[in-house]
């Protein structure tokens, strides 16, 4: 209590530190029992902090499968108490108690009387205690934080969900007691006008003196190499007065955007007098000179179309269990966005704290923020509606000055009464012209929508969940509606969990106990040694899917952008490890930021082509495009293409016509063809494209000779599609059999190229597999170029195959094409395997080998490679299996 100067006219006392504390799971206020605030609380806690930090609550014995497990659950009122002396010098002042962020209702009791209750979830709680505390007296202040749901809102809303950040109880960030003069600035909003480099400043002056006040408001604007002063006279007798000032900032003032995030700070100082006493109060905010408008297909920033390359942010903070409120944590996230070539974050059903906006302002990231609204939250419920009506206004007031606050949306995938959604949206537009507004993501359109985030429009799908082995397609026509359209939650390709992450939770309020369950199951099923291989192989597939997904959306010149779900893992909803970063935003080591920026950056070289696998009699044709949403057009761009083999040797190269590439657009820049004649050996080649030797991108293609007369039986090797007497006899003679049952004749799941969408626990539908692990070091792949993971050459093989259930085979048997099962099932699965059966040598391949073989060069090559193998002395399966197993997966 010594940390203030008595003479200052605004005094702030830090309230962080030790508080008395008690839990109240019974909520003793409900009955006539003695409620907590009547007593001195018996325990202690440090604030800011959350109950989880002190292991308060129910020690959770469970292993939740569908999310991380909170170690100590607490949901109910919790009481925090301090005796606070209100200095005598505060007589006549307004006195506030301020908490930067709490969950969800905070109530203040002064000496056993409840005096203030606030239930904002997105903004600070600022309790006005003026009329309830007496300067010169020590009051017992008891704060009740109640993290029970205050309204019937969706349990998944990320603002208060238990499933990503936890539904914590506590107080975060700044907490302080503030005393200010009774004529003070309640609000300071800055509205930039880029047409004349000026700002309109709007002050709300509150006057509690009930007398006339006179004086001035002085403004100081500071920026890099910039300083400006200005003032206006103020006079009023009203209790609330709005003062507006237009302040020209001059020609040296710089605009704000992602490339030049020029931030200014404005301080308004109010100096007034009522004739007797002098009053003073100051308020500051940062802002940027920027304007947002609705363009035809894009969001316009400073009258230029921007393209949003974004990530969906779902309040995933397992390290702390709560949203960080410090600059450093958020700066890390903004820098990661830049590292991975992104310029946008969508805060899904929540709104982050001030530090997030500050760091986005500083680094040039465009935000979409939302209220805690999802699903049925728009169904009629007047109490809930009123909560939303308050919350939207509070968000706009608290964060509206931030230049990074570009887009506002009410919430996620809302159903219910869309007249209410329209009401909120129209109200937002009326209140604040500095952002674009939208009713709901991915649901019913409303009239006031200024943009639309969706997986589809009335013209068709605009989301992209997965790539294709061809790239001559986009989502332009489907995106071309009356407002700019942003692709909703694209990506979502599931990676097998990395069990190494388990240990990262040692000091967290949550634990990956589900990972322990998955890991134990894998161990029980005899494959724990493959956990890392599954993670790596499925991760590599997700990376190549994201490259294809993002490029498709960059080719879509009429799309306003995309929101990837997500670059980091989502630890709820069944647990969706879809990220290339883990839930701690640490890299999983699957792709470097430099490689990622080849296909996700302000300028990206793109190529449209027909397919990924070719016969060596064909010609590769590429249509080159350049996506350029950088800061400038590219004058006299040199465009080069070249073809390399796996060793990096350049096989062919050429140039496209030098040209100037426009900014803010996706431009076709020419075509080239590469004859694949002369590629006699099957191999992976890479087509490269560069712009001025700086912007580079590349695509893998595979070239194969064609093969005739495959799968010919010899005396030693019998090819058969049925496991019949002839096959049995062949094996009994110690000879070789290649069994290639038609896929219809194989029990089990259909094989699919893509790994599972989102996660197999929440969406228990096909494929329920997480990609494939290819045992590429084994000799059957000698003539079939492949990595340990599947790439686009596997497309026609995997999409024409069945998945054999192999859990009941000896542990040592590992299929050479091993399908990775859903991690909550972890069975051994395969498409191709070899084994000793009845003394003979058997190789099984559950791939269609009949349909359209003249269009499936990769399948031909795989069969060729296998044929060479089974007819060589290398073919020597080691693990015996029973004949009954072979019969077990065949329909007849």
């Amino acid at each position: 209590m010594q940390a203030y100067a008595l003479k200052a006219q605004t005094v702030s006392v830090d309230l962080s530190g030790k508080w008395k504390f008690q839990t109240d799971v019974m909520d003793f206020r409900r009955g006539s029992l003695s409620p907590r605030y009547n007593h001195v609380l018996q325990e202690e806690i440090q604030l800011p902090g959350i109950t989880d930090d002190y292991k308060i609550g129910y020690k959770v014995p469970y292993q939740y499968i569908d999310r991380l497990t909170r170690k100590y659950e607490y949901m109910g009122p919790a009481w925090y108490q301090r005796d606070i002396e209100i200095p005598a010098a505060w007589k006549g002042k307004k006195i506030f108690m301020y908490f930067e962020r709490t969950h969800w209702l905070s109530s203040i009791y002064v000496d056993t009387k409840e005096v203030s209750a606030i239930d904002y979830i997105s903004v600070p709680h600022n309790h006005d205690l003026t009329n309830f505390v007496k300067p010169g007296k020590t009051h017992r202040i008891t704060v009740c934080i109640d993290n029970r749901f205050q309204y019937k809102t969706h349990k998944w809303n990320h603002a208060h969900t238990e499933f990503t950040q936890i539904n914590w109880n506590g107080i975060l960030g700044e907490m302080k007691l503030i005393a200010i003069d009774p004529v003070y600035l309640e609000d300071l909003q800055v509205y930039p006008n880029i047409a004349n480099n000026s700002v309109k400043v709007r002050l709300q002056v509150n006057n509690e003196t009930k007398k006339q006040f006179k004086g001035k408001a002085s403004f100081t604007i500071n920026g890099k190499n910039y300083s400006l002063k200005n003032e206006v006279a103020v006079v009023s007798t009203d209790s609330v007065t709005f003062v507006e000032a237009n302040i020209p900032m001059g020609k040296n003032a710089k605009l704000w955007d992602e490339f030049n995030p020029n931030v200014y700070e404005i301080t308004a100082q109010l100096q007034t007098s009522d004739g007797k006493a002098n009053y003073q109060h100051e308020k500051s905010t940062t802002f940027g000179l920027r304007e947002v408008k609705q363009g035809k297909n894009h969001v316009m920033l400073n009258n230029r179309p921007i393209h949003l390359r974004g990530n969906v942010e779902n309040a995933v903070f397992p390290k702390t269990g709560h949203v960080p409120v410090d600059d450093a944590s958020w700066e890390r996230i903004m820098l990661l966005m830049k590292d991975y070539g992104m310029n946008h974050l969508r805060f899904h059903s929540w709104c982050p704290p001030k530090a997030a906006f500050r760091m986005a302002d500083k680094h040039g990231i465009y935000f979409e923020v939302e209220m805690p609204m999802w699903g049925k939250d728009a169904e009629p419920d007047e109490a809930r509606y009123n909560f939303f009506r308050r919350e939207i206004k509070a968000i706009l007031k608290e964060y509206g000055n931030h230049p990074s606050f570009v887009l506002y949306c009410n919430g996620n995938e809302i159903t219910g009464n869309f007249d209410f959604i329209e009401e909120l949206t129209a109200e937002g537009i009326k209140l604040d012209p500095r952002h674009l507004f939208s009713g709901s993501t991915a649901r019913t359109r409303v009239k006031s929508d200024q943009y639309y985030v969706s997986q589809q429009t009335n013209k068709g799908p605009v989301k992209v969940y997965e790539g294709l082995p061809n790239t001559d397609w986009d989502r332009s026509a489907e995106s071309d509606v009356d407002v700019p359209v942003i692709s909703h939650e694209s990506g979502q390709r599931c990676v097998y969990p990395n069990f190494e992450e388990i240990k990262k939770y040692a000091n967290s309020p949550v634990e990956a106990r589900n990972f322990e369950v998955f890991r134990d199951m894998l161990q029980k099923n005899g494959m724990l040694d493959q956990a890392n291989d599954f993670f790596k192989a499925s991760g590599a597939l997700t990376v190549l899917e994201y490259k294809a997904v993002i490029e498709a959306l960059l080719r879509s010149s009429k799309s306003a952008g995309f929101q990837l779900l997500s670059i980091n893992d989502f630890p709820g909803q069944g647990y969706a490890p879809v990220g290339i970063l883990d839930p701690f935003w640490d890299s999983k080591g699957l792709v470097t930021p430099e490689k990622f920026r080849e296909f996700c950056a302000p300028t990206v070289a793109l190529l449209r082509y027909e397919k990924s696998s070719y016969f060596n009699t064909e010609t590769f044709t590429g249509k080159a495009e350049v996506y350029n949403f950088s800061n400038a057009d590219i004058k006299n761009a040199k465009l080069k293409w070249w073809l390399t083999d796996e060793s990096g040797k350049v096989l062919q190269k050429g140039n496209l016509k030098n040209q100037t590439i426009a900014n803010d657009n996706v431009s076709p820049v020419g075509e080239f063809s590469i004859s694949l004649k002369g590629i006699s050996v099957a191999q992976k080649l890479t087509v490269h494209l560069s712009v001025n030797d700086q912007i580079k991108n590349s695509w893998n293609i595979w070239v194969y000779p064609s093969h005739q007369d495959l799968m010919q039986s010899t005396d030693q090797v019998l090819y058969t599609s049925v496991y019949d007497d002839a096959a049995k006899k062949q094996l009994a003679q110690g000879k070789s059999v290649v069994l290639y049952p038609t896929p219809e004749n194989v029990k089990g799941r259909k094989s699919m190229f893509h790994n599972h969408f989102w996660n197999p626990i929440m969406f228990a539908w096909a494929p329920m597999t997480i990609g494939n692990l290819v045992h590429n070091e084994q000799p059957m792949f000698k003539d079939f170029t492949t990595s340990y993971h599947t790439d686009w050459q596997w497309w026609d093989i995997l999409n024409n195959a069945k998945v054999i259930e192999m859990q009941n085979t000896p542990e040592k048997l590992r299929p050479f094409i091993q399908v990775i099962d859903s991690y909550d099932n972890n069975q051994k699965l395969g498409i191709g395997f070899e084994a000793k059966v009845n003394g003979g040598k058997l190789l099984v391949l559950a791939v269609d080998t009949k349909t359209d073989m003249d269009k499936r060069p990769a399948t031909q090559q795989l069969l060729y490679s296998i044929d060479n193998y089974v007819k060589s002395d290398k073919f020597s399966p080691q693990v015996p299996v029973e004949e009954t197993f072979i019969q077990s997966f065949l329909n007849k």
Binding site: H154, K459, G460
Partner: protein, 255 residues
């Protein structure tokens, strides 16, 4: 001079206010886009019919014993129009799965045209992702059996191959064709107000879909899909609200 200016203003006003009307006076029968039917005693969801999204006609013979009987469906994903002997009885959705059939007692052809909008609902409400009709359909409590399920190739059938005839007063779903003249090439919004649910092609290019339950009442037709002179528009309508016309608007239309 004064006169001239006033006239100019009037003309401008009439251009913006009077929307161009398109009359749909031709119809193509839906049978043209029938795909191979599947027959089964019970209902099969579209998943089992290999229809990921789009339309399926579920039909069966029913016998009514009174003049008003309740038809109840266990699951409707996502929208269906119910016809008895070619006469629209109403629409059903998963929120409203009961409908009253009014006929004289007798045997009738029950036809339920179902659209699966193929959308993944990633809400927590998701329990299964079956689409189309599944479970039981009952008529006054008795299960309707012996279904014929006909996938309808609405989206991929070449519009140019559809055979149109002059429109007669029938209520069944089908394709409607209209023509309109344009002097100037610019973006237009097709105002679908009054129509039920369907898909639209302009000059044989797909331009979008509509549903009366949405607040959005228009589909953007980009200028590049239009030609000066005569343009052709084809609409597939599932519910058949007996509409004859649509309008072209210069601005998006919302209800």
């Amino acid at each position: 001079m004064w006169n001239k200016i006033a006239l100019g203003v009037t003309m401008l006003a009439s251009q913006t206010l009077v929307a161009q009307e398109i009359v749909f006076n031709q119809k193509a029968a839906l049978e043209q886009v029938y795909q191979k039917p599947v027959e089964a005693e019970g209902l099969l969801p579209m998943n089992d019919l290999n229809v990921d999204f789009g339309y399926v006609l579920y039909q069966s013979e029913i016998t009514t014993q009174s003049e008003s009987e309740d038809l109840e469906l266990e699951n409707v994903r996502d929208y269906a129009a119910v016809y008895v002997n070619g006469k629209l009885q109403g629409r059903v959705t998963d929120n409203n799965k009961k409908i009253t059939i009014k006929t004289n007692p007798g045997k009738y052809l029950l036809q339920i045209y179902v659209e699966n909008i193929g959308r993944i609902t990633y809400g927590p409400e998701i329990t299964d992702n079956s689409k189309g009709l599944f479970g039981e359909v009952t008529l006054d409590g008795n299960e309707v059996e012996n279904w014929k399920m006909v996938p309808l190739n609405i989206k991929k059938y070449p519009v140019k191959d559809l055979k149109f005839e002059n429109r007669a007063e029938v209520e069944t779903p089908g394709f409607y064709r209209g023509k309109f003249e344009l002097k100037e090439l610019k973006n237009n919004y097709l105002d679908i107000t009054g129509w039920g649910m369907g898909e639209v092609w302009v000059n044989q290019k797909y331009v979008g879909s509509y549903w009366e339950e949405e607040k959005q009442r228009s589909i953007l037709i980009p200028s590049e899909d239009l030609v000066q002179g005569e343009n052709e528009i084809v609409v597939f309508e599932l519910k058949n609200n007996q509409q004859k016309t649509m309008k072209l608007s210069q601005t998006p239309v919302f209800k």
